[in-house]
C-alpha cells in the first residue's frame, strides 16, 4: 500500500475524515493491493460522501448499488451467513466479500434485483467454502467437530444452545442451506434454486429430506 499524506484536506473536517479513512485502510491492509494509493482512495470516498462522484456511468451505478443494497440488506445477509457459518465476525467478512465481488461484477448485473440474487448466492457459496476450510483445519488440528464456530459471541452462544439450530448443524450441507434459505430467508423455490445453483426439483428434495431429518433429530432428543 502506497504511503499517503496524512492530511489531504484543508479543514479540520477534512483532516478528521482523512485520519479515519487511513485507520480503516490500515485495518484492511492485508487485503489491499501494494499499489493502493490512499490519497486517491480518499478523494473518491469523499466524492462519494458528497454525492459528487467523478466516476459516472457503470462504475457510479455500481457504487450506488453497493450503498443501497448495503443499507437495505447488509444486516439480513450477515444473519443469513451467521446461520450458515455460526460466527458473526466470519459472517461479516463473508458478506463484505460478496459486496466487493458484486461491485466487481456489476457490468454483468446492472440492476439491484439481480445484484441481490448475486449477493445471496455469493454468501451461500462463501459460507460453504468457510465451513469446508474450517473442517480441514480442525481435522488437521484434531480438535473441535468440523464446523464449530471459531469465536464465541454472546448471540452465537445463545444460537448454539437453540435445539433447532443444533439439529440443523447435523444435516448435510445442501439440506441445511435449503432449509435456511426457505424458512429463514423466506425465499421462493425458484429463488433458492438460483441461489444454490440447482434445479427446483433438487430444492424440493433437499428441503423435504432436510425437514424430515430435522424432525427426527428433534424428536430423538
Amino acid at each position: 500500500m502506497r504511503a499517503a499524506g496524512r492530511d489531504t484536506g484543508t479543514s479540520p473536517e477534512d483532516a478528521l475524515l482523512s485520519r479515519v479513512y487511513q485507520q480503516v485502510t490500515e485495518l484492511q491492509e492485508s487485503r489491499l493491493s501494494a499499489e493502493y494509493d490512499l490519497d486517491k482512495g480518499l478523494k473518491r470516498y469523499r466524492a462519494w460522501l458528497d454525492g459528487d462522484s467523478e466516476h459516472p456511468g457503470v462504475e457510479w451505478n455500481a457504487d450506488r448499488a453497493v450503498t443501497e443494497l448495503y443499507a437495505e440488506h447488509y444486516r439480513a445477509l450477515v444473519r443469513l451467513a451467521a446461520m450458515l457459518v455460526r460466527d458473526t465476525q466470519t459472517a461479516e467478512e463473508v458478506v463484505q466479500d460478496a459486496f466487493v465481488a458484486m461491485h466487481d461484477g456489476w457490468q454483468r448485473l446492472r440492476d439491484n434485483e439481480k445484484a441481490l440474487a448475486y449477493l445471496r448466492q455469493a454468501v451461500v457459496n462463501r459460507s460453504r467454502s468457510v465451513l469446508r476450510h474450517r473442517a480441514v483445519v480442525d481435522k488437521n488440528l484434531q480438535k473441535a467437530p468440523p464446523d464449530m464456530p471459531s469465536a464465541e459471541h454472546g448471540a452465537l452462544v445463545l444460537l448454539e444452545r437453540d435445539a433447532v439450530v443444533a439439529a440443523l448443524r447435523g444435516l448435510p450441507e445442501r439440506q441445511r442451506e435449503a432449509i435456511v434459505l426457505r424458512y429463514y430467508a423466506d425465499l421462493s423455490e425458484a429463488e433458492i434454486a438460483a441461489t444454490m445453483d440447482i434445479s427446483r426439483g433438487a430444492v424440493k428434495s433437499h428441503t423435504s429430506r432436510g425437514m424430515a431429518a430435522l424432525r427426527a433429530a428433534l424428536e430423538q432428543e
Binding site: V24, Y36, K40, M83, T88, Q89, A155, L158, A163, E221
Partner: protein, 56 residues
C-alpha cells in the same frame, strides 16, 4: 414431547407430525435464534476500502 437443548422452543407432539405446523415451528425457531445476531460495526467502510483498492 421432545425437549430442547437450551432455551429454544419445544415441539408440541401434534406439530411434529403436521408438516405445515412443523414448518412454521422451524421458521419461528430460526428467526428467534438468529435475529439476535447484529453486525459488530460499520461494514460499509471496509467494503469501500477494498473496492477502492481494486478500483485504483
Amino acid at each position: 414431547m421432545m425437549a430442547g437443548t437450551g432455551p429454544g422452543p419445544e415441539i408440541p407432539p401434534a406439530q411434529g407430525h403436521d408438516p405445515m405446523k412443523f414448518a412454521e415451528f422451524v421458521r419461528r425457531a430460526l428467526h428467534d435464534a438468529v435475529d439476535q445476531v447484529e453486525p459488530c460495526g460499520d461494514g460499509l467502510a471496509p467494503i469501500w476500502a477494498r473496492i477502492l483498492a481494486g478500483g485504483e
